[in-house]
Symmetry: C2
Subunit: 386 residues, 2 copies
């Protein structure tokens, strides 16, 4: 199946905005003010790696009716003009005296009016991507505007993916599936782990990734110590368990899953741990239906594992435009699954000597059994170099 | 020359903290509170791609004396324990009821005391990487703490690089130098631009990049339209100018420069534009000494170009742990260059029909002539496919 065409039709963005506006009206909001890459892109389609530069702030205003309005640095005008957004207001950033704050305040007052309620993402996983001093200045200069919580409108909308979004995440996962199938080409005893990391990213790109912003993993005798450390030049050895966990991007959407490999035949402890991780994943998948809660997925995995790796803090999460977004598989998250959610199942298990093993799959919640976007790993751990 | 060893000796971090503490004392600050990847890493050495996940907040407190204290999610404890930081306080994130705010407030009160002045980056290029609601909660729960501006201490310290940091940026630039030299292997008439983007990232990785978070560019007949758009599948044609601009990472430090290529012999207009870009770069480099201002570099380039590409807003910037950081080459930035600053010279030029060309080099400011970290491009534009 060929990957989907880049971007989305305008109808997709219009539908997102309409859903937001219904919720804004219900909550008495006159506008949403958005500042982060993923929130801007969700409503506008503005896709660029330029956010890697922290210098310039970018703003998108979603009014109670009509299309969003972009208030952005002039360097972004040409690209924004290729999206469905018509009203694009620019300043030349960086401006040491007024880096868009005046233009933003004027635009908000024009669109939302005096006494308007302007909602911003303020809760879990959010941040305000503008200098705090400018945020204070905006509030001081806008006594007629009431800046308030966005009632999680953007976050909760983004948690449920459209068919078009699922197609993009599937395409990203297919790239990673192909790259993982080629790990035997790049990993064997004697190869430095940092070289494996570089070569695995090259495989992801060769198989169709646009960018590989995230690659974590580890390698160690009978398990690894940690899953977020940079790769060292230590050479793989027989008896190592190698884990690679990629978050690669294709057309602005992530996949996020990992695979474990045994260098040479696995020990009984490693094979047993891997079997339990796979069993936990499938027990969770078996109950992953609309109405099941995030906490229930956590508990079914934790019960299978007997020893959950508590340091990770969760056994899975949502994903999409960000590597992680939306719900968390933790005991306290009682969010109910809905058809169209894309989540990871990510059980971890503690082994002797502080070692761990982690497994991760990506699934789409549907009316019946979830679809695995990652090719589900078999119970038997993959082996290299045998 | 082999690349430098990973990380820095503890003395490097101790020196950074000491410099910060001198400035904190001078400004009456009792602590710095830092929340972003680069600010945390600057004082701690904590290096991971895990920041790609927006879910968890991370905090580092720099007290007026003594080592920084980390207040972080438990998933980061093992890696943080490998740095020079001893005092690591963790909570299990995400916590839907208190995602580190209580622990952070307690730690700040313990370290800084009642009535303490706690400085945060609030100015240009900064943001607070924690939910706004949690920021409000922290302030409400800490009436005895006065949260205030950090007087740009972190930003201005980070603008002047140590020898160790320059070595890392040089190593990153050398990777890119080698990758750019291999562009003829991957780019010729008929190759889709998105394929060139993927293959160029693969070259960067093969030559030693750890990650390639940023690649921009463009291609078009006699110049390109935009430098921040994603690559399309449009095939390169004779007469195109291809530009690739990479920000690759090696051991946590970026390089950031570009190269232009003509597909087939360049037109007179393209060669002339390229010559002027190179001339502008060297005129700026010729005066880039301690005491010269950022604005002076801007003006010498703008005068050479006659037509500056105004949409970009600046003709260069600092770089280091971020793709862009520190000063901006704009008329209003009167920051004086200091030995140890690493900056880009990035003139742009407008051509007919809305097309542009942009050139970029990376230099280190020293007592005498600046060192070029990028191999300076020759006046004659490189050609492919001739």
């Amino acid at each position: 199946m060929p990957p989907p065409a880049p971007g989305f039709p305008t109808t997709e963005y219009a539908a997102r905005v309409q859903r937001a506006q219904v919720r804004m009206a219900a909550n008495g909001l006159d506008a949403l003010l958005l500042t982060t890459e993923s929130d801007l892109r969700y409503f506008s389609g503005y896709l660029t790696r330029f956010w890697e530069s922290p210098t310039r702030p970018w703003f998108l205003i979603v009014p109670l009716s009509g299309k969003p309005v972009a208030v952005i640095p002039s360097i972004g005008r040409a690209l924004m003009a290729t999206t469905w957004i018509d009203d694009i207001r620019c300043w030349q950033a960086p401006d040491l005296h007024d880096d868009g704050v005046g233009l933003l305040g004027d635009t908000l007052r024009e669109l939302a009016g005096e006494g308007a309620q302007v909602g911003l993402p303020m809760g879990l996983e959010s941040h305000l991507r503008m200098p705090l001093a400018d945020w204070a200045r905006l509030q001081q200069a806008s006594p007629g505007l009431d800046f308030t919580h966005d009632y999680e409108i953007t976050r909760t909308l983004r948690m449920v993916k459209s068919t078009g979004e699922i197609n993009k995440i599937r395409a990203a996962a297919q790239v990673a599936n192909r790259a993982f199938a080629r790990v035997p080409e790049i990993a064997s005893a004697g190869v430095p782990l940092d070289q494996v990391f570089r070569r695995f990213q090259m495989l992801c790109l060769e198989e169709g990734a646009d960018f590989v912003p995230y690659l974590a993993g580890g390698a160690g005798q009978g398990g690894y110590m940690d899953v977020i450390s940079p790769a060292t030049p230590a050479r793989l050895q027989r008896g190592d368990v190698l884990m690679l966990d990629t978050g690669l991007l294709r057309d602005g959407y992530f996949c996020d899953f990992d695979r474990n490999f045994s260098l040479g035949p696995p020990s009984d402890a490693v094979q047993s741990a891997h079997s339990r991780l796979i069993e936990a994943t499938h027990r969770a998948a078996d109950i992953a239906r609309p109405g099941t809660t995030a906490a229930e997925l956590y508990h079914v995995m934790a019960a299978t594992l007997n020893s959950s790796d508590s340091s990770a803090g969760r056994l899975g999460h949502g994903l999409g435009m960000q590597l992680t977004e939306g719900l968390s598989l933790i005991p306290d998250d009682h969010t109910e699954l809905q058809a169209g959610m894309v989540i990871t199942l990510e059980p971890g298990i503690a082994l002797d000597g502080g070692r761990i093993m982690v497994h991760e799959e990506d699934i789409v919640i549907g009316a019946r059994a979830p679809e695995f976007l990652s090719h589900p790993a078999p119970t038997t751990i993959a082996t290299l170099d045998v």
